[in-house]
């Protein structure tokens, strides 16, 4: 276990390892995305109430799910960075933040687009959308804090503290927004319960969630490689690696 953690902390090893990983993860992601998209957008049956407009959930739901998971990945990396002071954890945190922010933004935009035909308005203060908006602020806070510090290892530690505080808060935020919404819920708006979803719609959705997880992993890995390459631009191992391949 320790040797693995130690290895993960070494930039040359990670660079080689992630290179191999991306090589097969990237095609897998593309395949999953294509299959999921075709299945969800063309093959799955239309919803009896919403018609075809519901199909946006094949992007909306996966991005929302992965965006939230991304925050926990970031918090875990933050904890590792604070406790064991592993540089790679800093790099991970920094790589996850913009990807997570982008996914949250996608979830928000698709939610708004979905809202127009469903509720007749672009923006509804729905519990989930509001939670997503707050999650976006949390992500943007981490990105902005990272940029504000000149010393990047200090930036990583500051962000680690922030994400850990955020992680403690996220369940409370979600719960409070939930209660807030149920207290003010207008009678005309009702969500179709997720349990009611038909298997013929569910399977492509699960596939898309898997695809988004892969997409998240690939973008984060590529981000990390770019960051590492920049940090070690003068290192001999990097030159060897680049010239060797």
């Amino acid at each position: 276990m320790w040797t693995i953690i130690h290895k993960m902390g070494s930039p040359p090893w990670f660079f080689r390892f992630s290179g191999g990983l991306v090589k097969w993860l990237l095609p897998l992601t593309v395949c999953l995305l294509l299959v999921g998209a075709v299945w969800g957008l063309l093959i799955a049956p239309p919803d009896f109430r919403q018609g075809n407009s519901y199909r946006i959930i094949y992007i909306h739901v996966p991005s929302a799910v992965v965006a939230l998971a991304g925050y926990y990945v970031m918090a875990f990396a933050g904890a590792v960075s604070l406790v064991w002071r592993i540089k790679m954890a800093d790099v991970t945190m920094r790589a996850v933040a913009p990807v997570g922010a982008a996914l949250t933004a996608i979830a928000l935009v698709t939610g708004a687009i979905w809202g127009k035909p469903t509720w007749g308005t672009w923006w509804v203060w729905d519990a989930r959308i509001t939670s997503m908006l707050i999650l976006l602020f949390l992500y943007l806070g981490v990105v902005a804090l990272f940029e504000a510090y000149e010393n990047k290892s200090a930036a990583a530690r500051a962000c680690a503290v922030l994400t850990l505080v955020g992680t403690v808060n996220i369940p409370i935020i979600y719960k409070s927004v939930d209660w807030w919404y149920s207290l003010h819920q207008p009678a005309s708006i009702k969500f179709t319960g997720e349990s009611a979803i038909d298997p013929s719609m569910l399977y492509p959705l699960l596939l898309m969630i898997g695809a988004f997880y892969c997409l998240f992993a690939v973008t984060v890995l590529l981000n990390m490689r770019a960051e590492l390459a920049w940090n070690h631009r003068d290192a001999s191992w990097l030159k060897q690696l680049v010239q060797g391949t």
Partner: protein
């Protein structure tokens, strides 16, 4: 008995290596002076030795005694008077009695100024209030960063005397100064440490 041991200390700032392989052991009764030009890393090393800077600091730093650190900033609240500032100083581990504080302020020739807000004192007087901490504290290890700035010649003499007494009583200290050697202190030239990179 060593009060502070630093072995193979290397300090990096961003991409730049500031200092490499600094080794020093401060024993009881020793005075160390860090010398070197501006920007060579005297303050960085002092902050690392005090435990304030950890990022980019490699190597072992062990402090085996109570520490008194005096940085560039005096850590005085301008709206509080000298008595209050010393009584409530955040870093002291002992409750100094008012008598002790009054005596310390008198020793830095600030008798009669105890009740004035520190913000109303001159820069030199403020520096003296900060230095009065040396008399109130019981720390054996002193890290003084540029203690002689803003002091007049009588102040410098007074500080010299304090340092001598501290060392004779079994304390040790490191200080930085631009001025060439005072006392018979051991010097560590940070220019040399930098060339070791």
């Amino acid at each position: 008995m060593p009060l502070l041991t630093a072995s193979d200390v290397t300090i990096e700032r961003g991409d730049r290596r500031l200092l490499a392989d600094v080794n020093l052991t401060v024993s009881a009764g020793e005075i160390w002076q860090l010398v070197g030009a501006n920007g060579v890393g005297k303050t960085s090393l002092m902050r690392a030795l005090a435990g304030l800077a950890r990022l980019g600091v490699e190597g072992q730093i062990e402090r085996q005694a109570e520490l008194l650190y005096l940085g560039h900033a005096s850590a005085l609240k301008p709206s509080l008077n000298a008595m209050e500032n010393l009584r409530c100083h955040p870093a002291c581990d002992v409750m100094a009695s008012d008598d002790d504080i009054e005596r310390a302020l008198a020793a830095v020739s600030l008798a009669g100024h105890e009740e004035r807000p520190v913000g109303a004192l001159s820069a030199g007087q403020q520096r003296r209030v900060a230095l009065a901490r040396l008399l109130v504290s019981s720390a054996r290890l002193w890290l003084l960063d540029e203690p002689f700035t803003a002091l007049d010649s009588s102040g410098c003499d007074w500080l010299d005397e304090q340092i001598q007494q501290h060392v004779e009583a079994g304390g040790g200290l490191i200080f930085t100064s631009h001025q060439p050697s005072r006392f018979g202190s051991r010097q560590i030239d940070l220019e040399l440490a930098r060339f070791a990179c």
